[in-house]
C-alpha cells in the first residue's frame, strides 16, 4: 500500500459510517435499519484494518470479534423481527409503539 492511502481510507471509513447513520435516521423499515447497522460495523472494520498496518495484527483480531458480534446481532435481531412481525403484521417502526405509553 502506498503511504498516502492512509487518509483516503480513513475518510472512506468515515463516509460509509455516515451513510449508515443517514440510512438509520431516514428509513422506517426495521430490516433496512438493521442493514444500516451492518454498514456502520463494516466501516469500523475498515478503520481497524488500515490502522493494523501501523499497530500490528491486533487490529485484524478485533475485526474478527466485530464480525462475530455482528453475526450474533444479526441472528438475534432477525429473530426479534420475526417475533415482531408475527405480533404486529408490520415492520414499520412508526407502527411499533408498544412502549410509547
Amino acid at each position: 500500500m502506498a503511504p498516502d492511502l492512509l487518509g483516503p481510507t480513513l475518510a472512506l471509513s468515515g463516509i460509509l459510517f455516515s451513510i449508515g447513520v443517514l440510512g438509520a435516521l431516514l428509513r422506517r423499515n426495521a430490516i433496512i435499519l438493521f442493514m444500516c447497522v451492518e454498514l456502520m460495523l463494516n466501516a469500523v472494520n475498515l478503520a481497524f484494518v488500515v490502522f493494523a498496518r501501523y499497530y500490528g495484527f491486533g487490529g485484524h483480531v478485533l475485526v474478527f470479534f466485530v464480525m462475530t458480534v455482528a453475526a450474533a446481532e444479526a441472528a438475534v435481531g432477525l429473530a426479534i423481527m420475526l417475533a415482531l412481525f408475527r405480533h404486529n403484521q408490520t415492520l414499520d417502526l412508526q407502527d411499533i409503539n408498544l412502549l410509547h405509553g
Binding site: M1, P3, L6, G7, Y55, V61, A75, V76, L78
Partner: protein
C-alpha cells in the same frame, strides 16, 4: 494499485448510497453485498487478504443470506415509501452532513502525522507494532498468533456470546417452546 483502490472506493460509496435509497429491501440487501465486496477488495490492498476472504464468506455469504431469507420469509409490502417525514429528513441530513465533514477531514491524515501525534519524540516505530516487512508471509499465521495468544480470553468469550445468541434466536423465533 492506486487506480484499483479508487475503483473500489467509488464502488463502496455508490453501493452504500444505493443501499439506503432503494425502497425494496431485497435490492437494498444486494447493494449492501456489493459494498461488502468492495470493502473486501480494499482489505486485500491493505495487506489483509485473509480478512477479505472472511468478509466475503461470513458477511456477504452468511449474514446477508440470513437477511435475504428473513426479508423473503416475511414478504413485506414495498409499494409505499418508508422514508420518514420532511422534518426528520432535514434533521437526518444535517446530522449526517456534519458527521461527513468531521470524519472526511481524516482525508489529510498521513502516516508521518500519525507517528508525530502518537509516538514519543525520537521514536521512529510504533510501540508493539509490526512493520509490513516483518510479516511472516503466512497470512493465516499472522492473524492466528495474536488471536490464540494475547486475545485468547476475548476469543473464548465470543464463543459464549455465540452460544447465547443461538439460544436467544431460537427462544425468540419459536412459537411454542
Amino acid at each position: 494499485m492506486h487506480i484499483v483502490f479508487w475503483i473500489f472506493f467509488a464502488s463502496a460509496v455508490v453501493s452504500a448510497a444505493m443501499c439506503i435509497l432503494r425502497r425494496n429491501p431485497v435490492s437494498a440487501a444486494m447493494w449492501l453485498v456489493s459494498t461488502m465486496f468492495s470493502l473486501a477488495g480494499i482489505f486485500v490492498i491493505m495487506d489483509a487478504p485473509f480478512l477479505a476472504a472472511i468478509q466475503v464468506l461470513v458477511y456477504a455469504g452468511a449474514v446477508m443470506v440470513l437477511f435475504l431469507f428473513v426479508i423473503m420469509l416475511l414478504n413485506l409490502d414495498v409499494t409505499a415509501s418508508d422514508v420518514r417525514g420532511s422534518l426528520s429528513i432535514g434533521g437526518a441530513v444535517a446530522v449526517t452532513g456534519l458527521l461527513i465533514v468531521e470524519l472526511g477531514a481524516l482525508w489529510v491524515y498521513t502516516p508521518d502525522r500519525l507517528a508525530q501525534e502518537l509516538l514519543p519524540a525520537g521514536a521512529t516505530t510504533f510501540p508493539g507494532g509490526i512493520p509490513a516487512d516483518a510479516m511472516s508471509g503466512n497470512i493465516v499465521l499472522d492473524v492466528a498468533k495474536p488471536l490464540f495468544d494475547a486475545y485468547l480470553i476475548p476469543f473464548e468469550a465470543t464463543s459464549v456470546l455465540l452460544l447465547a445468541a443461538v439460544v436467544g434466536a431460537v427462544v425468540l423465533a419459536k412459537r411454542r417452546i
